[in-house]
């Protein structure tokens, strides 16, 4: 082969190289897009991808509705600023209020930034050592109140069981889950529909663990929770205003036995008292229903000291 022939070959190969590079770039671009779209597709089918849990809004201060869910990425800031990973633009919440980081097995380690503070399970956190948000922990940031719910895949301990609120039975239990001979579905049927719970949407999401320690609704229902017959108690449902029914010529019961009534409404000779009352009841007069007396909330007593047990929070085991 001569130099001239080689030159012709090399000149022709120039276009081949450019064409091959173009093909390489086009296929690399398609592979790049495919890798990126795989992540986007995963996020659509599994919206929890990239998060460790959610904050359930208990009090939204007019910004969030009760029951709203705010996803929690593994690490970042909680604050009012838009760039925060958990954005809660509520009154008294600073732009970057809390820094948090998820630690497998321990929970969501969080500390306030600067001079900020927040409440975690009734404890005010101000120091930079931080604390751990556990599954079921109640967090008060500014004017907002939230409860943390973690995914099943997140290895996070439950908040302390030593609380005045005993756990609810599993309302989604099927038949006899705990082998105690009792059908839990019958127990679950006694409780209101989960739709009235603030966790309605969350509790139907099988990716999440059940929240077993539910506090009363602060600021919405300040009455203590109702006691149920078996000692377990529940949220008080949102109280509806009770409208008293108007009387229609129905005298008070006390007057029915007075002498004046007897004179005003003389008893017919052939009517007995029972017949009068039967007639009166059948007259279609609307009945006035008096509300049932509500039990007074009594927190469980400590056997030794006879004092109410405070809400305790599990601390990180060193």
């Amino acid at each position: 082969m001569t130099s001239e022939l080689y030159s012709v070959l090399a000149y022709g190969a120039r276009y081949v190289f450019v064409a091959l590079l173009a093909l390489f770039l086009i296929s690399s671009w398609f592979n790049l897009r495919r890798e990126n779209s795989a992540t986007k597709r995963a996020r659509k089918t599994a919206p929890h991808v990239g998060t460790v849990g959610q904050l359930v809004v208990l009090e939204g201060a007019g910004v969030f509705a009760r029951g709203d869910l705010i996803p929690i990425p593994p690490e970042g800031f909680i604050g009012a600023a838009r760039i925060c990973d958990v954005c809660v633009p509520l009154p008294d919440v600073k732009a970057k209020h809390i820094f948090y980081r998820f630690e497998e097995g321990s929970g969501l380690w969080c500390r306030p930034i600067g001079r900020n503070s927040f409440e975690l399970d009734d404890e005010i956190i101000v120091d930079r050592k931080g604390s751990y948000i556990l599954h079921g922990s109640i967090i008060k940031i500014g004017a907002g109140l939230f409860q943390a719910a973690f995914l099943k895949s997140a290895d996070v301990p439950d908040v302390a069981a030593a609380s005045p609120f005993r756990p609810l039975p599993d309302v989604y239990a099927s038949a006899d889950d705990d082998d105690d001979g009792e059908d839990e579905t019958a127990v679950a049927a006694q409780y209101p529909s989960p739709d009235i719970y603030p966790y309605g949407r969350l509790s139907q999401d099988e990716s999440y663990r059940t929240l077993t320690h539910i506090p009363p609704l602060y600021g919405v229902n300040t009455e203590p929770p109702f006691m149920q017959g078996d000692g377990a108690y529940n949220y008080a449902p949102i109280p509806q205003p009770m409208q008293p029914q108007p009387y229609e010529n129905v005298p008070p019961v006390s007057q029915m036995y007075s002498d004046d009534y007897s004179e005003e409404y003389p008893q017919e000779d052939d009517e007995t008292e029972a017949e009068i009352f039967a007639t009166w009841n059948d007259s279609g007069a609307p009945q006035y229903t008096r509300p049932q007396p509500k039990p007074i909330y009594v927190p469980p007593q400590d056997e030794e000291t006879d004092e109410a047990q405070p809400l305790r929070r599990r601390r990180r085991q060193e």
Binding site: M1, T2, S3, Y6, S7, L9, A10, Y11, A13, R14, Y15, V16, F17, V18, L20, L21, A22, L23, F24, L25, S27, S28, W29, F30, N31, L32, R34, E35, N36, A38, T39, A42, T45, A46, H48, V49, G50, P74, E75, G76, I83, F99, R101, F102, L151, K152, S153, E206, S207, R209, T210
Partner: protein, 442 residues
């Protein structure tokens, strides 16, 4: 009879194999042409001697090694992309792009200086080991606090070594010689720089990373390695903006950098000269020799290049390090050179994507830092070669000749690949939990 349509999975697999096959074909043709050229040159030299009546003329034997490289290099590309992709937890897109650049560097060096090409091949092999080490470092290490205490002083000591033991080359005292091998510590310190910046910024330890950067920049200024100092500074600034989103402070930092650059311009005579040559290289032909020949070479190549083995790449000064991009443009053309720039752009896009998908702040900043340093370095050197910005003495990642440069670039790519592979594992794990959520007991 019609062929059955392929499923989406097999189509995706076929598409993912195309870059590897294209690379193998490209470099098979390239090395074949070079081997042919070498044989023709040897034959012509023999014919000239014989025509002159020189009795010592010996008929050249077939250079089997050069022809064997046509098969060896494609096989190495296959091993480096497909086999390595199965053995290590890597990102296939990044791996194929990296291998393309490394193979291109080996080819260009072999075509101009065969001994340098073979040595570059050896550095590439060692670089794969460094890349694997960095991948596993990112995947295995969970707590970086202890490591940061160790790495901090070692990195600064390594960076300061040329001040004591170093020799001056091209106006900068940033090389040390150990057992006949030269080493550029400022290249190797890029890896600890990224790890420390990512760790301290993710933990909001402002003082720690500022201290490290200030000391490192001061040492580099003393060594007169202004190109690396610029690279360190831009990386730290962009990473600070990425971690905090604080635009005003970042702009103040940028202003400070511009001020320092102006100070350097007024204080250092060679900086003044470089800026003057950048503005008009023809004003001083001797001083502007490098940039002038680089521009002439790029222009000579035109759109499609002069052809492999043709042209005169050796007339470009320092053609194997700083001006290797000019050699690529001369041989393969400006379109090919633009394609090489796009390869770096793809690496940058994939790196940013990996940073955005990272599951924690440290991984995100590490991936972002690796992307920034590779992209900015490529921009600085290519920009300098084409006279877009004043020329600085940084190398072209994966392509330029240099063992330390290759090891550092592969290590940085390893950090990026480590984060990308962690993202992939996390995605698979999260998807599996969601799909089996109903079966997982509380």
């Amino acid at each position: 009879m019609k062929k059955k349509t392929r499923s989406q999975a097999s189509r995706a697999k076929a598409m993912s194999n195309i870059p590897v096959r294209v690379m193998m074909l490209m470099f098979f043709i390239a090395f074949f042409l070079i081997a042919l050229k070498k044989q023709i040159n040897a034959q012509e030299a023999y014919d000239a001697l014989k025509a002159a009546g020189d009795p010592s003329a010996v008929k050249p034997a077939l250079d089997l090694f050069s022809f064997a490289l046509c098969l060896i290099v494609p096989i190495m590309i296959f091993i480096g992309t497909v086999v390595l992709g199965k053995l290590l937890p890597t990102d296939p897109v990044l791996l194929s792009l990296t291998n393309f650049l490394c193979a291109l560097g080996v080819f260009v060096l072999y075509s101009t200086a065969p001994d340098k090409g073979l040595r570059q091949c050896m550095y590439y092999g060692i670089g794969i080991g460094v890349m694997a080490l960095c991948i596993y470092l990112v995947r295995i290490v969970k707590h970086w606090r202890t490591l940061s205490f160790i790495v901090f002083p070692i990195a600064l000591l390594l960076l300061a070594t040329p001040l004591v033991l170093g020799t001056e080359q091209n106006g900068a005292k940033n090389w040390i010689y150990i057992g006949g091998t030269s080493l550029q510590p400022s290249e190797l310190v890029k890896i600890p720089l990224l790890i420390l910046l990512a760790y301290y910024m993710s933990r909001r330890k402002f003082f720690s990373w500022m201290l490290f950067c200030l000391i490192a920049l001061a040492v580099l200024m003393l060594q007169k390695d202004l190109g690396t100092a610029l690279l360190y500074y831009i990386t730290a600034l962009l990473l600070y903006y990425a971690s905090t989103g604080n635009l005003p402070v970042s702009l103040v930092g940028l202003g400070g950098g511009a001020g320092a650059a102006y100070l350097g311009y007024t204080m250092f005579a060679h900086v003044k000269k470089r800026v003057a040559l950048w503005l008009n290289p023809w004003s001083d032909y001797d001083a502007g020799y490098q940039i002038i020949h680089s521009l002439v070479a790029i222009a000579s190549g035109g759109l499609f290049g002069m052809g492999v083995g043709l042209g005169s790449p050796k007339s470009i000064p320092i053609y194997y390090t700083d001006f290797i991009f000019a050699v690529i443009c001369e041989q393969f053309g400006m379109l090919f050179g633009f394609g090489v720039i796009l390869v770096y752009v793809f690496i940058m896009l994939r790196g940013v994507s990996a940073a955005m998908d990272a599951r924690n702040q440290f991984d995100s900043l590490l991936a972002m830092g690796a992307t920034i340093i590779l992209s900015v370095q490529a921009f600085i050197i290519i920009g300098g070669v084409i006279k877009l910005i004043p020329l600085t003495g940084v190398t072209m990642p994966f392509v330029s000749y240099g063992g330390t440069s290759m090891l550092a670039s592969m290590g940085i790519m390893g950090l990026l690949q480590g984060v990308a592979s962690k993202n992939k594992d996390a995605l698979i794990r999260e998807e599996s939990y969601v799909s089996s959520a109903g079966e997982v007991s509380l």
